[in-house]
Subunit: 213 residues, 2 copies
Amino acid sequence: MIDDSNNIILPEPTLRRLPWYLAYIDILKANGVETVSSTQISKAISVDSSQIAKDLSFLNIKGKTRIGYEVNTLSNVLSHFLGFKEIHNAFIVGVGSLGAALIHDTGLSNYGLNIIAGFDINPDIIGKKICDVPIFNIDEMQHYQQKLNASIGILAVPANQAQDAADTMAASGLKAIWNFTPYRIKVAEGIVMSNTSIYAHLALIYNRLRATT
Amino acid sequence: MIDDSNNIILPEPTLRRLPWYLAYIDILKANGVETVSSTQISKAISVDSSQIAKDLSFLNIKGKTRIGYEVNTLSNVLSHFLGFKEIHNAFIVGVGSLGAALIHDTGLSNYGLNIIAGFDINPDIIGKKICDVPIFNIDEMQHYQQKLNASIGILAVPANQAQDAADTMAASGLKAIWNFTPYRIKVAEGIVMSNTSIYAHLALIYNRLRATT
């Protein structure tokens, strides 16, 4: 069932929607539902059913006419396809308030993220552990990367240290940077970048709230 | 300096970029830099300078020819404009791993978010406090909303409880829902919605990593 189609580069909007489908399908699965059509998914989560069929066509799975997709199979194929069933080792860089919070969020491990070490410049936390994750000096990142071979670096330093920390991460051999800072960092081509702009999402909420009151 | 222009509905892409400008400008400010041009911002964060000028034109602030913007003024106007200087009271609904992590992240308060209560269904944590934030039974949300008048509800429950919890939040009188679950919830018109799809961002990283290796 799992094949080379896993290696294609998916459009970002499709990658945004697929986890919605998976979340809905996993609810059906937990409720013992056996089949689901794209029309049903469409009604539940308000995405056009032709869009859903198109998104799911990237997966190597076919629905049956008038029956739809097998829920168990679809859940399996989707979570494998999204990479949630593999283990991806990650460093977290910046173990302040947000960084420590992300280490505490054990839910990420259900989605294939395995945080194996933290890095900081604060001598008060270097050498300690948070939820069993050891915290090292940021200067030693390359050393630990050679030993631990993480693929993803989670960036959670203050904005004014974001670019420097990202440069260190790239130089240490991390292949992807997940940026939680509000700073727009620049990386060399070939480094995968994903921004989770929580402050921008807050700004959006504040702006819309103000406009409605 | 702050005026009615605060009430306009900004396009989402502009709201995504403005916090990048602010993060960069605050670094200049901390370094004692007094003026900045859109060309400079453009070089630092790789956004087209005409786009920056256009985004900043929503603010009631003018740059000077050949000098640019005053850094202090721009920082002030931007952070007010984005709502980061106001206090916005929020409930957090679902105080499991992620919810508790968000309460621990004191950084959010620097961006105007004040988490005043948490809600859960787990009797082990109802009645307790996390970082001084009291945790109540989710059934009592309306009661506490009448007393505390929060405007924002942060949704961090398991996906299969997301829609029900969102319905409770809307019924209790919360005006905005910040959805951290992977579930695509539906809300009545008039409720502000913002999705922070951390699992979709992970799926993006996994997909791109696979394609490059």
